[in-house]
Symmetry: C2
Subunit: 360 residues, 2 copies
């Protein structure tokens, strides 16, 4: 066994070691087929089986009931910021956005940039994005309401699946997808870059409720048109084969752990190790409203920037990586996605207690 570090990266993030071991074993010859997954024609039966299994597992884990199309695309959430208004906001409609942080801001700015009418249905900008707004004021003629269910930089997270009174709800779930059960019926479209909770960078999961397909604007550029990818099962052109294969393995790993309910319990337990320290300390300080705390990304501050530097330097010596907060907000941040082992969190918690004792 090679020595592994504890990796608290906000993404790309830690993957289950069991999954990496499987990939390693299958690298030269996938299950006796005599070639790597990276070398397979995407039109081969073996590869078709890999992507079909991944789609089936998405369907199962999120209880989609075959009422949704499951796509594996490229270009990250940033490309979805463009594709969503392009596909789903007609010229006479208004794209509604809830602004809960840097990524939500990017999403709404992109809709604006391509000439769509936008409306801010709610915002937590007034308090530096440290909370989740509970009430939305949706515009007339709304094409959709777009939310960001977990805010990676600020560390806030929706605890409920909001009600939008029949207006299609679109959610960027990049940083908390498949971390807990959701009420899937609330959502018209969900998207997530794989590289935080469900896989490596290089593929974007997009889940579209089938009634939305009729609403797609006509005449779009081929690769930017959801219809292109729906019609060809994500294989209009060569898909990011390997990233989909790895993502499929991670989703299967979550299913084998007991699915979203089990995952939510484990994620709650992991996050509590850190939040309990923040709550019982006047040394460490959480930065967001308690009720809106993310289970995925936990930002915290120490009494001084000097101590924060020292903290981060010492964690690195202890092989605990990527505990620095996002450059736009400073401080510290621990990301505890699905694949984050309990042991890593326990070690971090112990280190935090020791560090407080020594530096108080």
């Amino acid at each position: 066994m090679q020595n592994r570090i504890h990796n608290f990266s906000a993404g790309p993030a830690v993957l289950p070691e069991e999954v990496l071991q499987e990939i390693q074993e299958e690298m030269i010859s996938y299950r006796g087929h005599g070639l790597s997954v990276m070398e397979m024609s995407h039109r081969s039966k073996v590869y078709q089986g890999i992507i079909d299994d991944a789609c089936d597992d998405v369907n199962e884990i999120l209880s989609l009931g075959n009422e949704y199309e499951v796509l594996f695309l490229q270009g990250g959430a940033s490309t979805q910021f463009y594709m969503i208004p392009l596909n789903l906001c007609a010229d006479d409609k208004v794209a509604n956005y809830v602004n809960t942080g840097a990524w939500a801001t990017k999403a709404l700015k992109e809709a604006e940039k391509i000439g769509k009418k936008i409306h801010i249905a709610a915002s937590s900008k007034d308090k530096d994005f440290t909370y989740i707004p509970k009430e939305f004021s949706i515009s007339e003629n709304a094409a959709y309401v777009h939310i960001t269910t977990n805010n990676t930089i600020r560390g806030t997270e929706y605890k409920i699946d909001p009600d939008t009174n029949g207006i299609p709800l679109i959610a960027d779930m990049s940083s908390n997808i498949m971390s807990k059960p959701i009420d899937i019926k609330k959502y018209a479209l969900i998207y997530a870059g794989a590289q935080k909770n469900i896989g490596p960078a290089g593929t974007t999961l997009v889940i579209i409720r089938k009634d939305m397909i009729d609403k797609i604007n006509p005449g779009l550029p081929t690769m930017m048109d959801y219809n292109t990818h729906i019609d060809k099962g994500s294989m209009f052109n060569t898909p990011p084969c390997f990233a989909i294969y790895v993502t499929g393995k991670v989703i299967r790993w979550i299913l084998n752990k007991g699915g979203l309910k089990a995952m939510a319990e484990i994620n709650r337990e992991k996050a509590d190790y850190i939040y309990n320290i923040l709550d019982n300390s006047d040394f460490y300080r959480g930065t967001v409203v308690k009720e809106d705390r993310s289970l995925m990304n936990i930002p915290f501050r120490l009494p001084s920037e000097e101590l924060e530097k020292k903290f981060i330097a010492e964690t690195m010596e202890m092989n605990m990586l990527n505990l620095k907060g996002h450059r736009s907000v400073g401080g510290c941040r621990a990301s505890l996605y699905n694949s984050q082992p309990m042991k890593a969190v326990q070690d971090l918690a112990q280190f935090m207690l020791d560090f407080e004792k020594k530096n108080k």
Copy 2:
């Protein structure tokens, strides 16, 4: 050593076994860092080193002399079909295309679809795309001339780097990039999906001459704007980290083999094994004009479709995969990209001779 098949896929295609072995060794812990490349923050020093090395190697192998920007994007050549006219054809200009097959047709149709004026500067459609047109008739006000340097389906290839009298030359090199030396100065923009000659599916290499940057249309969607990716060194958003890492390894492998000159000699030698059989047989038949034959994709026919079926079935029994021609043209096709081992080609040649003897 696990048994490996001979893989003649047109893409995704065979990778060097040495590269796969390195990836396998580095899977759980990359060079002692204690994490997989898939788990690294793209903002980490280690990952920055990986992408920088890949860009440097592209610069070296193609003798770019730092006069070009090297980008690793997502979305395949199909997304470039959209981005190129969007970025580089102003409203009062004409996008010129040379139509040499299915992929060139898709490229020009996409320019048309987004409302650009297009002009067919040359075409080999009159003879089913079985040759490369040598003369171009470039329009007034040309924004660029777009060519497809190797035609994967039909098996034709440019043997020279065409002269376009100062009009920017743009080339889809997806299926022959880095297979031979080219006169780089002729090209204003080169792009290639990695999954044929230089890596796995999931990243698209885009090389832009720096004087083209001023010509990029203003106000484009963020992710579709070359400036976005140039300004941030392909890291505006999370790049397809693992696909770039593998592609970097394959390019380094080509450099270690002696670079493009050595690669061209090996590729010539490999292709000759098959073309010599076609030329000395009245059983097998090549399908394209001799002087325009591709060294990468060799389509051929047998005396009957029945014999073609038998041929493909028997190659599969011999663990030689993906010798079926593209579904749009039928017949057989052997793809002999950079990473195709000599031994695989020799075995195929021997099999072809044996099969001819038995079935003549």
